[in-house]
Amino acid sequence: MPVMEYIEAIRTAMKEEMERDDSVFVLGEDVGLKGGVFGTTKGLQQQFGEYRALDTPLAESAIAGVAIGAAMVGLKPIAEMQYSDFMFPATNQIISEAAKIRYRSNNDWSCPVVIRAPIGGGVFGGLYHSQCPESVFFGTPGLKIVAPATAYDAKGLLISAIRDPDPVIYFENKKCYRFVSDEVPEGDYAVPIGKANVMREGRDITVIGYSLPLHFAMQAAEELSQEEGIEAHILDLRTIQPLDREAILEATAKTGKVLIVHEDNKTGGVGAEVSAIIAEELLYELDAPIRRLCGPDVPAMPINPPGEKHYMLNKDKLKAAMLELARY
């Protein structure tokens, strides 16, 4: 299997789905001629023409709203939000419309739209090019939300999102674009929405998370294994809505010690729900309090390098938290 960058996996998924199905198209700011500010849609306009890789006016509510309209009549739009920080103008279209179309029409209408939005920091983007907005949309019934950490999942989940009959928010991680490469099958395969994945087997502590910080956890786990003989069990949620409850409970039961990680700030994040599920279902299997290691509860990360570094999760922070939990 060829090794591929995460960003390339995203592009490939779009390209192949667009080849397979005429009704798939991508729209957003700069996605056409320029091929996206990160290059994610590079080549698509050249291959599929102006409309199937459509440069839109700078107006996120319209990007989402137009995509929703097109989806309601049978197209399969992929609406790109240039940065997830800039998807808030589209909140009403996403929460009031996309999420409720099937329910409010009692299954008469549906809205198979994909909304792609790059999340995360560590790219010297400052307050408004680094945010993780998952918790704003998380918990909205009617939406599905995925957040791949690997190139394999990036392609497989995007294929699933495009084919899904309901609206899917696809949170891709900017830092992963070129930092993460792994084996990606050629051609058609799908990673099912709603299924978590065990990234690493272990018996001592369980780490549950999604997106970029899992790579820090994996690095920390290797070091802890070699240095301390501590074996971490690592679960990649992959889909954050709906959460894979069985997988969460299984991974918890495996070690009885859970650390939840995400870059989105701690309070009200996805981690709170994961913790609450465990506290509700598996309290007596726990050998330690449920820990969360997340972004700090400040509006966003500063752009100055020490401030950014201070804000971001990294291998060392993960390692310290994992070690502490293991020793609990």
Partner: protein, 344 residues
């Protein structure tokens, strides 16, 4: 109804390409909407339903715009006062009543949504919500789909003048302008957004906004249904010809309170309302038909008793119909897989 054709042998409606049957049908549909709406008010006052929102005096223009559309191909995104419109494009009074009573058989939402929240896939009436103006970008997306597929289909979206102050109006219109999409934006300007009069909503004319988007904006008297028809027919032709969107501002007036929850005399006078009631286009349209030998007192009587029957029957049916079973109240959050469906 004021101007007469200068060519004496042709009626105004014939000049517009409307047959005698068409205008009679238009009149009957206006009257159907009117009677349905009045019944809705009565039912609410009688405590049979919780809520009704009225489109009275807006129906003549709603019916006229529907008649200018292709009711086999176009997509419709009406707003909550559009009874005249949805009836004209094929919704039945029974279906409206089922929605008013919030019953399970209601095709709009199975009694989930408020009345006036239309949706009917077979009729290409696109499901709508309460937050105003969100449907404007949807209509643009549907028009984009038509353009991409090469379908000869137009989308028509309507909204109030208050709602035209939302960002989604701007973003949707501008997007459609860029790609010359086949969409008609209809602002039904009835002078108020609940209690807020035009003068506190905007300092401009809604139709003038089209200038900034590079497509035509037209203001038309909503009490002149034939003129409304003409304007929409033109807009429809432009759309089909690839000439792009049109913004139509239909000048009308809300003679009822905003909804059955509103007391409008807190913010306007009875006199103002009466003045506008006097301009009601329904009797004027009847007079036009009569003048051209297309209508009579007998036909009127026949119509009224026919409508009463239809509405009575629909009311009885809807009142007796069951609510959606509570076991189904939480269905359709997502598509159901065949496994899920069998499990029920």
């Amino acid at each position: 109804m004021t101007r007469k054709g200068s060519v004496q042998q042709q009626t105004r409606h014939a000049l517009l390409g409307l047959s005698d049957e068409d205008v009679v049908q238009m009149y009957e549909t206006m009257m159907l909407a009117r009677r349905y709406d009045e019944r809705g008010q009565l039912l609410q006052r009688a405590g049979k339903v919780n809520f009704h929102i009225s489109g009275i005096t807006q129906e003549p223009s709603q019916v006229a715009m529907a008649f200018a559309m292709d009711r086999e191909k176009d997509y419709f995104l009406p707003y909550y006062r559009d009874y005249g419109f949805v009836l004209a494009v094929g919704m039945t009074v029974k279906e409206l009543m089922l929605s008013l009573f919030a019953k399970g058989e209601d095709p709009n939402s199975a009694g989930r949504q408020m009345p006036g929240h239309f949706g009917h896939k077979r009729l290409r009436i696109v499901t709508g919500s309460s937050p105003v103006t969100t449907q404007v970008p949807h209509a643009v997306g549907i028009a984009l789909a038509a353009k991409m597929r090469g379908d000869r289909s137009v989308s028509l979206v309507s909204f109030g003048e208050g709602s035209s102050n939302q960002g989604d109006f701007h973003e949707g219109c501008n997007f459609a302008g860029v790609h010359k999409l086949p969409v008609i934006f209809v602002c039904q300007n009835n002078g108020y957004a609940i209690s807020v009069p035009m003068s506190k909503q905007t300092a401009g004319r809604i139709s003038d906004r089209a200038i900034g988007y590079g497509f035509p904006g037209v203001r038309v008297d909503g009490n002149d249904p034939l003129e409304v028809y003409r304007v929409f027919k033109e807009a429809h032709t432009r759309a089909l010809n690839g000439e792009g969107p049109t913004l139509v501002e239909v000048m009308t007036y809300r003679v009822t309170p905003h909804s059955t929850s509103d007391n409008d005399l807190a913010y306007r006078t009875k006199e103002e309302v009466e003045e506008h009631k006097a301009k009601d286009a329904v009797p004027a349209f009847r007079a036009y038909l009569t003048e051209h030998g297309l209508w009579s007192d007998e036909r009127e009587q026949e119509l009224q008793s026919r409508l009463r029957e239809i509405i009575d029957e629909a009311t009885t049916y809807a009142e007796r119909a069951p609510f959606q079973p509570v076991e189904d109240a939480f269905r359709y959050v997502y598509a159901e897989s065949s496994a899920q469906r069998e499990g029920r």
